[in-house]
């Protein structure tokens, strides 16, 4: 059971760094939502920064991979992302096609390299 729950500190951290920062914005939406213009300049900037932070995290997983992904050579991880992106673009912006193609390149490449 303790293996399932793990470290209590981590759960407190989850609450402080994960739950509160998200619920604050949702509650703001419920409380003050009626007066905000959806197309306002501030929201354009906020969305751009949020997108760029998410992009940074995507890059971090690919550039400094955790766990089992670290056993895959750098070039192969980048190749998988590029191949997936090409499939995504050429097959009507299909998320499924992009993910499937990237995975096939990664797994066959790793299998072939041994």
């Amino acid at each position: 059971m303790s293996h399932f729950i793990g470290d209590w500190h981590a759960l407190v951290t989850l609450f402080i760094a994960g739950v509160i920062p998200n619920q604050i914005w949702r509650m703001f939406g419920v409380l003050f939502g009626s007066g905000i213009d959806e197309g306002s300049e501030l929201l354009v900037w906020v969305r751009a920064v949020a997108t760029a932070i998410l992009a940074g995290v995507i890059a971090q997983i690919v550039v400094q991979p955790p766990g089992a992904l670290a056993s895959v050579p750098d070039a192969l991880r980048y190749a998988a992302v590029v191949a997936g992106f090409l499939a995504f673009i050429s097959i009507r912006k299909s998320i499924f096609a992009g993910v499937a193609c990237g995975e096939v390149v990664l797994i066959t490449g790793k299998w072939w390299l041994g």
Binding site: T13, E38, A48, A59, G102
Partner: protein
């Protein structure tokens, strides 16, 4: 699957509306993408040394995929609570306009604020998109119950995917384990690319990807925030410049 017509007696009961919402999960392609994403988040959490309970709690109480991977990646790579909280807070600002635009779709003159709290909690990118698709076919006074069913149904899919991904990462060969971990960056990259509506979004995505490796070279532990703020602000500048010319 088609929803019953607006005047059907099916909509008379709140419980039925909830069930229709939960059943609609099966008819959305996004649920499949969500499944793959949360499979990846489960594996990522395992390989970043978090417990399964932690992972499930983060899905149930944070309920925002991007925030969850930011949290797991920053904490997993040794960032402090404050740094992680800052990065997550900024990424979560996007929930504000989503909640603001979703709630008017289900508000009636009798609706109290507390009736909307669970809807606000369930609001995230997938639910937000699906509300626009499904709600026109749901009578207004049953929309809250329908969205509760849809949102909790999606959450059940994600909790299941988390558990499977976590277990697989613990037991699979490194080859397939690497494949499951790769699901997260791929699924997020393409779903974000698909959601880009304006030039600013595209610039933010591309620059955000490119600036992160540069920011890590500078060091200091604030790399995600630094590259995100810089890339996002440049993207906003491009947007302003385009509007003016």
């Amino acid at each position: 699957m088609a929803l019953p017509p607006l005047d059907s007696p099916q909509w008379n009961s709140r419980l039925r509306a909830f069930a229709w919402g939960a059943r609609s999960v099966a008819s959305t392609v996004l649920a499949m993408v969500l499944f793959a994403t949360y499979l990846g988040i489960g594996a990522l959490a395992h390989d970043s040394q978090f417990s399964l309970a932690w992972t499930l709690a983060s899905t149930a109480f944070v309920w925002a995929g991007p925030a969850q991977i930011i949290l797991i990646t920053t904490l997993g790579s040794g960032a402090t609570i404050v740094q992680a909280a800052l990065a997550v807070t900024v990424s979560a600002i996007r929930l504000f306009p989503m909640v603001v635009s979703v709630l008017p779709m289900m508000r009636t003159p009798q609706t109290k604020r507390r009736h909307l709290l669970l809807v606000a909690h369930l609001t995230a990118i997938t639910l937000w998109v699906e509300c626009y698709r499904f709600l026109p076919g749901v009578p207004r006074e049953r929309r809250i119950a329908f969205v509760h069913g849809l949102g909790l149904g999606l959450m059940a899919v994600c909790l299941t995917a988390n558990t499977i991904g976590y277990t697989l990462a613990a037991n699979l060969s490194p080859l397939l384990g690497a494949g499951i971990l790769m699901l997260t960056p791929l699924a997020f990259l393409f779903s974000t690319a698909r959601n880009c509506r304006e030039l600013a979004d595209v610039v933010a995505l591309v620059l955000g990807l490119l600036l992160f490796p540069l920011a890590t070279k500078l060091g200091g532990g604030l790399d995600i925030l630094a590259s995100g703020l810089t890339a996002g602000t440049i993207a906003y500048g491009v947007h302003r410049w385009r509007v003016r010319t």
